[in-house]
């Protein structure tokens, strides 16, 4: 396959970026999208051109490090992570536009690399159960109904890649926040902190300059892990419950 790439290049956080075109030939349909970028980078290096910076690590779709907007879609045309996208999803002769996640809360560091530290700070604000090491009762002390455990698990599979923010027209981080609120809120261990957790996490979400949710559903549609949209409704219910109890 021969393809043309239009890639966002930006030297550093303070620099103005621009789109740059690259031609790449002999692309195998079995290459992953990131392997295609590897090949391009090898070529650029040998031509004394700065290789394209992009985040990636596990390359098996679980660490959440990778993620770019490909032809206007977060993680590209398949519902999976960028590292699990393969070139067979494209046609010979395609022009592919590659851009970083864009949101005020995710400033560009370089090229396609953005800073997602805001997600860590949302977790710091309350995305945990306070269970210091050594204090735990026996694991069987509290049975958890299977349906609750399964829903907690579904929400807990979030990989924190940020595609939800990138795809949301409001650059909202609600799906990420709601996934954690739902994961911990479904479990008996999560109940004591449930009312305060949602308040602290939503406040942090807003302070990080994420936008609000308008229930459009782009986030869940691009989520590589299929985090359900209704987790946001569960977060809303929890937050309104807290506010009505005066926990605000």
């Amino acid at each position: 396959m021969n393809i043309t790439l239009r890639v966002w290049r930006q030297k550093g956080p303070g620099d103005e970026g621009r789109m740059v075109n690259y031609e790449l030939s002999d692309v195998s349909p079995d290459m992953s999208f990131l392997e295609m970028l590897d090949v391009l980078n090898e070529k650029l290096t040998l031509q004394d051109e700065d290789p394209i910076a992009f985040d990636h690590d596990c390359r098996e779709g679980i660490c959440g490090a990778c993620g770019v907007v490909i032809d206007g879609e977060a993680h590209g045309p398949e519902v999976t992570t960028t590292c699990q996208l393969h070139m067979r999803s494209f046609e010979d002769g395609d022009t592919i536009t590659v851009e970083p996640w864009r949101a005020k809360a995710f400033p560009v560091v370089k090229d396609l690399v953005v800073d997602r530290g805001a997600f860590d700070r949302i977790i710091q604000a309350g995305g945990y159960i306070s269970a210091p090491t050594g204090t735990a009762p026996d694991a069987h002390a509290t049975p958890v109904p299977k349906a609750d455990a399964d829903r907690a698990f579904d929400a807990a599979t979030c990989i924190g890649c940020g595609a939800c923010v990138a795809a949301c027209p409001n650059a909202s981080g609600m799906l990420f926040t709601a996934a954690k609120v739902t994961h911990l809120g479904m479990l008996p261990q999560g109940q004591p902190e449930r009312a305060t957790r949602v308040v602290k996490m939503v406040n942090q979400h807003d302070e990080e300059d994420f936008g609000g949710c308008t229930n459009i559903g782009e986030c869940a549609a691009v989520c590589p892990k299929g985090i359900p949209l209704d987790t946001i409704s569960q977060l809303n219910r929890d937050l309104l419950g807290s506010l009505s109890k005066g926990v605000g």
């Binding site: 005020k104 860590d120 942090q204 559903g217 209704d230």
Partner: protein, 237 residues
């Protein structure tokens, strides 16, 4: 970047995006209920001038003698006006936050919508159109300051005068606004329900179906009277 430690600012969840959205949802519910009642009243136009004007007059004495003449109407007006103002205020605040969050107008070189409905796309501009229309609408049919086809004390006559074929632009504006209302309800009812915490995976389809049904009924219900006038099905006796 390097150090991801939490910065502690004082903020309260009462002003959070979620709380503002909830305020929009609650005020939205009030406005939807009002729209349905309003639509019901409008349809009385098909029962003739007496029924229509009589209904309008009876509203003034609703709750009488417990409430004074026009008491209910003023209470409703205050509630509605507050709801509208809160709804718009929250919308403006949230829109500004969203614009800031997006980080600039030209966000991506290429944008592809995967999921969103056309209705959701119309919420903000459609909302603005509706707001402008409501002002016009009050000046036209309530206060009658604007009176295409001639002013009248009879609401029925005002309606019939205003939508005569020669004032096609009034009808057109009305139709456009009602369609905008329809789209607004289609997404707004779904979104409001989700914001108030009613969405669950197994209910998502039902909520959307209800939103679509209400939107269609309200749209058609509001479109019938003026179009009936324009096309001569309803006229001054």
């Amino acid at each position: 970047m390097a150090n991801s430690t939490l910065t502690k600012k004082r903020s309260t969840a009462y002003g959070s995006t979620v709380a503002l959205k909830a305020a929009m949802a609650v005020t939205g519910v009030i406005l939807v209920l009002y729209l349905i009642a309003h639509m019901y009243g409008n349809l009385k136009v098909f029962l003739g001038q007496e029924a229509f004007d009589g209904y309008a007059e009876e509203l003034r004495d609703l709750g009488y003698p417990l409430l004074p003449h026009e008491g209910f109407l003023w209470i409703a007006r205050v509630v509605l006006l507050s709801a509208v103002l809160i709804h718009i205020y929250c919308a403006v605040v949230l829109t500004r936050r969203d614009n800031r969050a997006r980080g600039g107008a030209s966000r991506y070189q290429v944008t592809k919508r995967v999921q969103r409905t056309y209705a959701s796309y119309t919420m903000r501009w459609g909302g603005l159109l509706i707001a402008l229309f409501v002002i016009f609408h009050i000046l036209h049919l309530t206060v009658n300051v604007i009176a295409p086809g001639g002013a009248s004390d009879s609401p029925y006559v005002r309606l019939v005068n205003g939508f005569q074929p020669e004032y096609w632009y009034v009808t057109l504006f009305y139709v456009a606004a009602v369609i905008a209302v329809g789209f607004h309800l289609r997404h707004g009812i779904w979104s409001g329900a989700a914001t108030l915490g009613f969405n669950r995976a197994d209910r998502q389809g039902k909520i959307n179906a209800v939103a679509l049904a209400v939107a269609l009924v309200v749209t058609v219900g509001f479109l019938l009277p003026p179009l009936a006038v324009t096309f001569g099905l309803v006229s001054n006796v």
